[in-house]
């Protein structure tokens, strides 16, 4: 597997191209939505670019589990329930969900994913 820095650099290039942000803004702790301004369509664009950059396949919903966040089974009154948290953890082992778990409002999820999560996700795909 390529070293972490090399993966980060390629992820950063993908995000710069997809989101039109400055290279300097793409820091490991930057959140995808809050800091970098990613919208839902951007995630599809990012998926395309990561697949190309790393030669990996990213199934729909794996990077951004919109199906969990819009399911009545996993969401009650705008908050992800315990089963939903478990589903997110199992689907997104690469993401640090501790902060989200403290206040699991669906709206907050947008500010959960960070650039470092993207890097960890790619690492997990390359290791698979």
């Amino acid at each position: 597997m390529p070293p972490r820095d090399e993966i980060f650099e390629k992820v950063r290039n993908a995000l710069v191209d997809a989101l039109g942000v400055d290279e300097d803004d793409v820091k490991p702790d930057a959140t995808m939505v809050g800091d970098l301004g990613a919208e839902s369509i951007d995630f599809l664009d990012i998926v395309f670019r990561l697949e190309k950059a790393f030669g990996i396949k990213i199934p729909r919903g794996e990077l951004f589990p919109e199906d969990v966040l819009s399911s009545s089974e996993f969401v009650n009154n705008g908050k992800v329930n315990a089963a939903g948290i478990a589903a997110l953890k199992s689907r997104m082992p690469f993401a640090d969900l501790a902060k989200f778990e403290a206040n699991p409002s669906v709206q907050n999820f947008a500010n959960t994913l960070t650039v470092e999560d993207m890097v960890r996700y790619v690492q997990s795909k390359l290791a698979a």
């Binding site: 997809a18 039109g20 599809l44 664009d45 395309f48 697949e51």
Partner: protein
Amino acid sequence: MRWFWIDRFEEFVRGRSAVAVKNVSLAEEHLHDHFPGAALMPNSLVVEGMAQTAGLLVADAIEYNRRVVLAKVAAAEFHFDAVPGDCLRYRAEILDLKPAGSLTRVSSHIGDRIQGEAELFFAHLEPGEGVPRLFEPDELLRWLDQMHIYDIGRDQAGQPLARPDW
């Protein structure tokens, strides 16, 4: 009246690339005010022409089974303005195509100069995903005929494209 921003295709290779032409004319009313005495084609309309060129290329590649919607204009850059009398050639290629979306690159040429370049990202939506039906089949077919797609279109093996029986 529909929103036509290309005049016809000159090349069309299914699933791969296309070239469409747009002739800029002072007969287009919007140029009279943009700007009085110094007419130039807004680059936003150049992007629309690019999107129609690439969008039809993508829609054909997925057999018009989903609604192809321009979702994102990435990395657009323009080098000079198109003015009445210019003939724009839009060259589109598909960089990546998946069920949910496609990434294309389109450049706009006047003569041998590159007027503009953009990456256009299309979402492919299923019926019911919030976008109404964009075309009636017979209306779409009339447009494709008008664009000469089945006159000049080829598949990647070089065979003529069959006109669909809608």
